[in-house]
Symmetry: C2
Subunit: 138 residues, 2 copies
DNA sequence: TAAAACCACTTGCTTTTTACAAGTAGTTGC
DNA sequence: GCAACTACTTGTAAAAAGCAAGTGGTTTTA
């Protein structure tokens, strides 16, 4: 149900597991093709993936781009609106880093990386990286 | 599906809309009774509420407490683990503040409040408030 | 140039989850 | 002692997710 609460507003459009995992793949794992999302560890179904990509595009979190080399391929990229979800994903990562204990695979610090040491600085660095990778050429 | 990713770990246990809205109610709207959660603007169903409260308690995000005055009432309070989700909820609020535009009710800044001006300082203040309200007496 | 493979999806069906309404057992106030 | 209130539970219909197979277009291979 629609409500005027900012938290609910956000949750209504990106507050489901698969949506955020797709954004994670784009943001931290450098994935950009449909097949790459499909192959993620968590095993998203192809119909759900198609549905979420459509929603994400409709809500302007991502945009489609043609691949110059492989003409049948489509590249998915984050928009600024999508990139701005990064601090939120980082907070999930930081929380898990504190509470997940043994549930995490080793070497998963790639995500929170610099942010763990200095939040403001780490976020700034990550923003720069994402903006360079996803926003150039538009 | 279980995976070793910290983002997925978090999303598996608190990454659904109703769960986060209950935590929002506890955190920002000072709600503590079953009936208060039921009455929230978004209209959670009573069976879903019961289910989520059980999950939240099982995962130690909240705990039940007896109400001294009204003996049939149960008070729900956040644990430290639950309180530590605050920065994440704040990030949702900050994102919505930037992108929700006219979708928000006026005066909803109560949530992000001080955090909007100075993130580190605002979070610290909010942590102190929550720890005082939810953790004292245990 | 015909066949095989790969691309981003779509379709159909089953299972799980959610939504809504009604009911219940145990206090509490009058 | 009974009506009202508490935190739930139960039953059922609707919606969403999960799974497997298929599709139409492009690209690579023989």
């Amino acid at each position: 149900m629609r409500s005027g609460c900012p938290l609910n507003y956000g949750l209504e459009i990106f507050g489901d597991k698969w949506t955020l995992l797709i954004i994670r793949d784009l943001m931290f794992f450098n994935k950009k093709y449909y097949n790459e999302f499909l192959q993620s560890e968590e095993g998203i179904s192809t119909n759900i993936l198609a549905d979420r990509l459509q929603l994400l595009e409709k809500n302007k979190f991502i945009r489609k781009e043609k691949d110059g080399e492989h003409k049948q391929k489509i590249i998915y990229r984050l928009t600024q609106k999508g990139i701005d979800l990064m601090p939120l994903l980082m907070e999930i990562g930081l929380w898990s880093d504190k509470y997940a204990g043994s549930h995490l695979h080793p070497g998963r610090d790639i995500i929170i990386g610099d942010v763990k040491e200095n939040k403001a600085k780490g976020l700034k660095k990550m923003f720069a990286k994402l903006e360079k990778e996803h926003l150039t050429g538009c």
